[in-house]
Amino acid sequence: MKIEEKLSLLNYKTDRSYAHITIDPDICATCPDHFCVFACPANCYTLINGKLNFKYEDCVECGTCDIACSHGSVKWTLPKGDNGVIYKYG
């Protein structure tokens, strides 16, 4: 099963007014490792033609990218209210 299919099993309440994680594209443009791409278990970070692409909608709020990024690009907060991933089993 591909990661995209696994993520499609998840239920989210997406906050359209607030992205709880943001990145600084200028920092990412010069990043030598892009470890976030490999660390994130929800495939939120992808490289497209060498450019880092980030989407917060699939985020499972684990916090891994905040640790992974050693260049100060990732700004990490929890979603507001009850938004974000909703686990059935957890």
């Binding site: 099963m1 990661i3 696994k6 993520l7 099993l9 998840l10 490792d33 470890f35 791409v37 490999f38 660390a39 994130c40 278990p41 929800a42 495939n43 499972v60 709020e61 684990c62 916090g63 891994t64 905040d66 640790i67 992974a68 990490w76 907060t77 929890l78 979603p79 507001k80 209210g81 009850d82 974000g84 991933v85 909703i86 686990y87 059935k88 089993y89 957890g90």
Partner: protein, 428 residues
Amino acid sequence: MSEFDVIVIGAGPAGSSAAIKLAQGGMNVLLVERGDPPGTKNVSGAVLWGDELSKVVPDWERSAPIERYVTRKEVAFLTEKSKIAISYSSQDLMERKSGKIIVRGKFDQWLARKAKDAGAMLVTGITIDKLVIDGGKVIGVMQDGDVITSDAVIVAEGANPRVLINSGLRPKLSDHDVALGIKETIKLPENVINERFNVDSKGGYASEFVLGFLDDGILSGGFLYTNRDTVSLGIVASLDRLRANGMTHSYDIMGKFEEHPFIKNLIKDGIPDEYAAHLVPEGGLASMPKLYGNGYLVTGDAAMFTFSNGMVLQGINYAITSGILAAETILENKGKISEETLSNYVNKLRNSYVLSDLYTFNGIQNVTWSDFTQKTMPKILDSVMMSMFDERGMPKKHLMQVLSAAVKSNGMKYTELISSGYRMMRKM
């Protein structure tokens, strides 16, 4: 005058246990949880070991949503083509009911309900931003600019301790503090689970795996627990090894684990129903934040209270006990909350298994997260087993000769094996 006696952040096992104890002691408690209902934000294996919860919910097993009791426990090394396991099945384990396999989505909701029934005010669907510190004393919590005051705060926010970090009470987490856990819940009919895992409908199978087949320096453990009609399958991967590797996606480790021939068979015809990921405290004492301060106490995963020696993975019991001890500390010091009075929390933790286990097994992560344990040992064991069981019509050798050959063929010296093995046994 504060609005609440105590605010508890997080309605997981630590927070809800603390809230129950405090409410039973007559305190005015606010229990805040960002998941709605509780249990929708956390991820756990999960096996709850022991009976600590009975201290706050007598007869808890009668109403708690328990999936199965562990009757078969395994620890297994997986190499590319083999599985070498220590398997323990026991009627005594069943009778002792020591390991309860639970689904946290149901369990946390049930336990938070107990806190509400005990008299705590349960507020869900709200994320606390940080603690409010005034003149060195924690006087409450902040949410979206609003301050809610309390005499004390119990931090039970889990493995990703944003409140502590935002409040300047612990540094950001690093690769050595936590590992990355990824888990899948797979639907299988109850009778298929019973047959496939050789358990009866109350009994359960819990196994930890060393994933020796992973290459390029990746270190990861695995686990499989049988719920009533689902199976929890997951990995716990080292972040610094993943970083050093630099070319493997974390989710592909999970993919390789579930595609391993021995695992694939166990989950055959299962229907994946959920994918999840969470941080797992692994750093032990070195990663621990300050456990108390003027007006606050830290419990559970937020305090890094987990135990893993390769044979068992525990955390929920540590969370429950630390939550209860934090509540006790506050109850005993009602009206005189200070850094000094709350320091007694640490004494209580030392006198319990929570901190004593962490001291006894200090440094264990250097053994469990080592190439020797995860790569060399499985390979040596595989060579030994293969030599012993593969009958080729040749004269047989003594076990020591077989072992010696296996050690050599894996590029190790005999003395290295003995010293590594001894180090491992000492730490475990």
